[in-house]
Symmetry: C2
Subunit: 320 residues, 2 copies
Amino acid sequence: MTITTDLDHWADRIRSGDVRSISRAITAVENNSPESEPILRSLFPHTGKAHLAGITGAPGTGKSTLVDRLAAHYRKQNESVGIIAVDPSSPFTGGAILGDRIRMQGHATDSGIFIRSMATRGFLGGLSRATADAALVLEAAGKDRLLIETVGVGQDEVDIMRLADCTLVVLVPGLGDEVQALKAGIMEIADIFVLNKADREGADRFEQQLKAMLSLSPERDGWRPPVLRTVATESKGIAELAKTMDAYRDHLDRTGQRQARKIANWKQRLLDLLEARLMNRIVTNGIGEQGLESLAAEIAARKKDPYAAVTDLLARAGIC
Amino acid sequence: MTITTDLDHWADRIRSGDVRSISRAITAVENNSPESEPILRSLFPHTGKAHLAGITGAPGTGKSTLVDRLAAHYRKQNESVGIIAVDPSSPFTGGAILGDRIRMQGHATDSGIFIRSMATRGFLGGLSRATADAALVLEAAGKDRLLIETVGVGQDEVDIMRLADCTLVVLVPGLGDEVQALKAGIMEIADIFVLNKADREGADRFEQQLKAMLSLSPERDGWRPPVLRTVATESKGIAELAKTMDAYRDHLDRTGQRQARKIANWKQRLLDLLEARLMNRIVTNGIGEQGLESLAAEIAARKKDPYAAVTDLLARAGIC
């Protein structure tokens, strides 16, 4: 009874935009703590309305400044903004190495912007799950625009970008081998290319190369990713970019793709949840980490084969 | 009866090193076809003896040539070699974009070398699982040395490198922003750094920078990753590299870390197998892809919450 009341109170405070309540909920989903499921369940009916943009690109492309200026643009239009900055880090230590959020301090007194950094966790699928859940919290908190910023195009980043209604890939002229970055899978996740630092030397040539490359790839569901030039540090090109993002949203709505994407995304998240639930049952509340370790040792010593071990595990958990 | 006999025959032919039988088994594990589990089970007791090296680095670092020359070095010592080249590709289309294996044709008539390219598949965890299983096939086929080559340091690559007894990270002077590559998680997966194309301008300076950076990070379990210079195209530095790899293996054996790594690795693979088995039961043979899609649509429309949906799914599969 008290728990339900507390939960309702917490959910109400999140929905009213209370910063501390929002933070506490995001911490809960980050840590996958026991209170995360009840609070998400309680918030869930109030989600699904925000526009979610993903912004990715290599370090040094000025993504953070771009996100900052986009946020300022939306605030001027009186839309509230939630920003999730996913920091890259070593897959083994989990320590964030990027993450200078000082740039954001210009917004510190504006309650219409909520900013949160999330660091990579060591467990597979964990980061995109946590990011997706954090986005749900911010949606329930009534944010109109969510901006999710990630670095690079690893599997984690790709998973995170699947959440987005619109994915921006930020490039700059003259930073390493751009063509290579494009080869590495970035071409196909971009809905819009942002050529930032477009006042730099080589910007024209790079834009031409990029457009030439894009002209070779087929139109995707009636949309060919445009290339937009920005100089984020001077807020140049930001309004045009925001306009193009809205045009893309309209395109997705008109063609029914936005809905199709949401469904595909929930399908994947359903599988992730299912997996988490089962692993919790079989491992955490079943054989235990220690038991699993012993079993792995037997397999490593070739005393048992892994397929027989899995059958045993299922039988122990009463699943056969 | 016939099936068992066929399976035994197939396994025997793999163990005798028959190229077509090995290829067929790797294709089976790549496709996760029904015959993959029986053949792996049958081969499993004959695995666990090969030395497995992982070789990773950005495109253009000369990894493939390095692998080629390492293989030639081992062949001279009369050791048999299996090479798995994991090709990068778009996470969405699954089409390999690298993969010029022509360089390997010099070994085409040597039955002591088996070479196989594997392309990225679209499903999460799938590539490392398939690579691990392919490595088991090659171990059972009696290969003394396995060389697994991957590009980049995404989650897939990191998962693959976890398989290895020794991970080489290949760098070259003057290719993009090396320091950035190091930041992106590569520092901690490297057991040995290979500075290839070491006859290039800037190699000395780059080596100094790299060593300076390494001197700042703590020794890891009694090993500080050394930097070895090679010019793979001229076979320079290959013997020294192979010697250092063996020294690292001895270090792991002496300190018990090799065994600990194998156990940690099997623990993860056991979880992967468990997940695959359960998903097969709940989705493929349960609600079906179509049913899952309908459920996801209800969630996207906020008619059902995802947590209740998971509970329903488990109940339907008789797991409660």
